[in-house]
Symmetry: C2
Subunit: 358 residues, 2 copies
């Protein structure tokens, strides 16, 4: 992969104008370069496990918080200050770009995103307009503020993948089995593809704006892809994630791709265009690397539930995962899914310290 | 595997005293014998997708229905009559043997099992008493009534595996992440093992009574095992499932083992003592068979959501799965998880017809 440059017109890598995070642990590991120990960050590190986050969020709804640059900046920085992680990840929600594109979606505490008018027909799809840069000037501001604060610590941009976004729109909210979504993709592939084309444009624009404002890498979350068979993923999800990744290729920024329960999809997720494949705790990192079968770094994969089991257990699991990661062609230490709200933040800090000492 | 005989004292296989289902498609496929087409049954075939079931259940709570032999018999037979499936599965619930052993558990519609006093300490474990045969004389009656009605159609006995039962008891009900369960197993392995020893006794007794009353095979459901890493499954779940299967070995009845999302655990589930390994829709059957790496028949694996996608899609998926199953050392056609309540029963009947025609 070429070095990352925030705009097309900068001089070659190695001069002063390269991205300040260019030599960070995260970017080096994402490029497959040798690092003495893996970089470490945590999915959902910015959020409910931190008392300073809960204090800041009091009285502010989730989507409002995600659109307020001062709050986004502060919330994104909190775990970097507290834990000393090797990357920040933009505080956002998977539905933010959909709301920015005019869809009527509310995040209901305890339930998740609720879509006012579910999308299930060609006419419903027609109503979804493209995301315009002007719709997300607040996100651009948040990223610029963050990059200025973060210096050499990379900021990871964030978006949901087209399949996962579609699942919320089709089901009307969270779902256990995504039965309507699967029925639609199979029964009306034209409607499905038209929907995912639009969602790919929305994801790609959302990430492009973040990269142009200075994010050093991106993670595309396909949270629910693991519910698809490999045949369905290949036919109905992969081409659209590919469109998102392809739109970002020129930036040279590392593209991380993650979904939970995707043990059977890891190589397909690489084929979609990922530079780094995230792995949940179900698949050991060395098994994942072998299944991907290419020189692709992996990210993961401590079971977030282990963080509730006390330090001796955590320590032994972290050591196992770092050892398994050494047998992969590059490793970014992370959890295998998001931080659970009831996690003691002190345990996260100790994990960072331990990974850095190994 | 030796031929199945309902008691130890019968003459050798081939005489009139063998089990009436001995030469059924299901038992032949489970033994890895060649069959012209796979046998077919559906997890949760007895239940909410059938109008005749909903009519019968009106005014009767789930646990009450499971303990009333006339209802169990009728509900278990309904899908056999309607669809012509190759096996009946005992209508029951995973918590029935726990309630029979005196635990205070209620099934709350829309939520699932709710445990009055969650089990989280050595003292809590001490309170769980063994399941006695006398506690489940109603189950024995149900099975005897069923076997008399079913003739050559095999009845599959049913129980939850110790890990899954434990997860309900520790969490106090259904859980997304089983964080308390995982914390307990790691932090207090002695308490964990004592709990699972007791649950293995309960499962084994529940299944033994069913086999002795004439069930021709059993399925041990480890519904949530797929949430465990392979390392955790091996250490904290496998030995206890092994104890259940070992207790049934002398019967010679095929032992099927299934959990959802267990792609990384399939060979470990075989090692636990399964004669047939159930596979969800995420792992193609030929991939599953290769991963198991032994001459073990597989069961599965149509995505239940596909049953909502219209007949042309269903037909093509059934044909794909039967073809993949032919590359395994034996195949029992099934879904990759339970029938969804909104399924059109006519589609299930057509699947049976199609599988039988292939």
């Amino acid at each position: 992969m070429s070095s990352f440059r925030p705009t097309q017109n900068l001089p070659a890598a190695g001069t002063a104008a390269v991205h300040p995070a260019e030599q960070s642990l995260l970017l080096r590991a994402a490029r497959g370069e040798h690092t003495d120990h893996p970089p470490v960050w945590f999915m959902r590190q910015a959020g409910r496990s931190l008392p300073e986050y809960r204090a800041l969020r009091t009285g502010t709804k989730m989507l409002q918080a995600c659109r307020t640059p001062e709050l986004v900046t502060e919330i994104t920085l909190q775990p970097v200050r507290r834990h000393g992680v090797d990357a920040a990840i933009l505080f956002s929600d998977i539905v933010v770009p959909l709301v920015a594109a005019g869809l009527d979606i509310e995040i209901v505490p305890g339930t998740g995103p609720v879509v006012a008018e579910p999308v299930r027909s060609a006419a419903d799809v027609e109503r979804i307009r493209p995301l315009d840069r002007d719709d997300i000037s607040d996100i651009e501001t948040s990223v610029r503020l963050l990059v200025a604060e973060l210096g050499e610590t990379p900021l990871i941009g964030f978006a949901g993948a087209p399949y996962t976004l579609a699942s919320y729109l089709v089901e009307g909210g969270p779902s256990k089995d995504h039965a309507r979504t699967k029925a639609l993709m199979h029964a009306e592939p034209d409607v499905w593809n038209a929907l995912l084309d639009r969602l790919a444009q929305i994801s790609a624009t959302f990430l492009t704006v973040q990269l142009e404002a200075g994010a050093a890498a991106v993670q595309l979350f396909d949270s629910w892809a693991g519910g698809l068979s490999a045949a369905d993923y290949r036919r109905f999800a992969l081409p659209h994630s590919q469109a998102v990744f392809a739109a970002l290729a020129d930036t040279g920024a590392p593209r991380i791709h993650f979904g939970v329960g995707t043990g059977e999809l890891l190589d397909l997720m690489r084929q979609a265009g990922a530079d780094v494949v995230g792995v949940d705790w179900r698949t050991p990192l060395d098994v994942a690397a072998a299944r991907i079968g290419q020189a692709t770094p992996v990210q993961g994969n401590l079971d977030p539930a282990i963080l509730l089991a006390g330090w001796p257990v955590i320590e032994s699991e972290v050591r196992r995962i770092v050892a398994e990661g050494r047998r992969a062609p590059g490793h970014i230490f992370n959890l295998g899914h998001g931080v659970l709200p009831e996690t003691d933040p002190a345990m996260l800090s100790r994990v960072v310290e331990l990974v850095h000492s190994l």
